[in-house]
């Protein structure tokens, strides 16, 4: 599909139309309008919304998400802008790495706890440490 109405997008991403309008209000998306001022969403808008939703799943706030998408949106033709974008991107990648590591730790801890539970051991001392 090449273009979407607001309700189609809302259905697709399992959010309300109000949510999408709110994202436009906040400047995270800028869909075109037809002659009757109805919003027209392109594939580009779709992709943008997908990024926004992912950011939300990761617990980022809308203004953080906005900062990210806007920064990567403008093509950094100027040398200075490019350097800035690169620095930002590398920083974000480091943050992502930290998150991945933390999640893997959490996973290991939970698996450990599951094993203990399955073995039928309460292990109050260990519990104290984890809890």
């Amino acid at each position: 599909m090449l273009i979407y109405s607001i309700s189609e997008l809302a259905r697709e991403f399992a959010v309300s139309t109000r949510t999408i309008r709110y994202y436009e209000e906040m400047g995270l998306i800028c869909p075109e309008r037809n002659q009757n001022s109805r919003r027209i969403f392109t594939k580009k808008d779709y992709a943008r919304l997908k990024l926004i939703m992912r950011g939300k799943r990761f617990g980022f706030q809308l203004n953080e998400i906005k900062e990210m998408v806007l920064l990567f949106d403008q093509d950094p033709t100027g040398q200075k802008q490019l350097v800035r974008t690169l620095g930002y991107g590398k920083e974000k990648i480091l943050e992502i790495n930290e998150r991945i590591e933390e999640l893997q730790e959490l996973k290991i801890e939970m698996e450990e706890m599951m094993r203990r539970l399955e073995a039928g051991i309460s292990l109050p001392r260990q519990k104290e440490e984890f809890q």
Copy 2:
């Protein structure tokens, strides 16, 4: 250190004392009190707060976090309770796996974009897809 005051914990976790009191208000922690009704935080409370903060970093809401910590808090002596806890834990591990995968995807995409930027290529077509 074996016990903490509320301001010590607040400093340690870089939050306000109000935040810690709020978590108690919401039932996420239950610190003991001294004879003058001042809160006394033990190592156990410290560990609990650490878990809460991690949950926050992952974008969980306080009631979700509460559900988790409370569920793993009670030792599931009853068979039924144990089964329930095990099921919940395995579900959570699956969720964590999904998050890790999603983060790794995101990381790859961002590294890809960084490489393109460093190569000095705008790639409008690719931009459209990612953006």
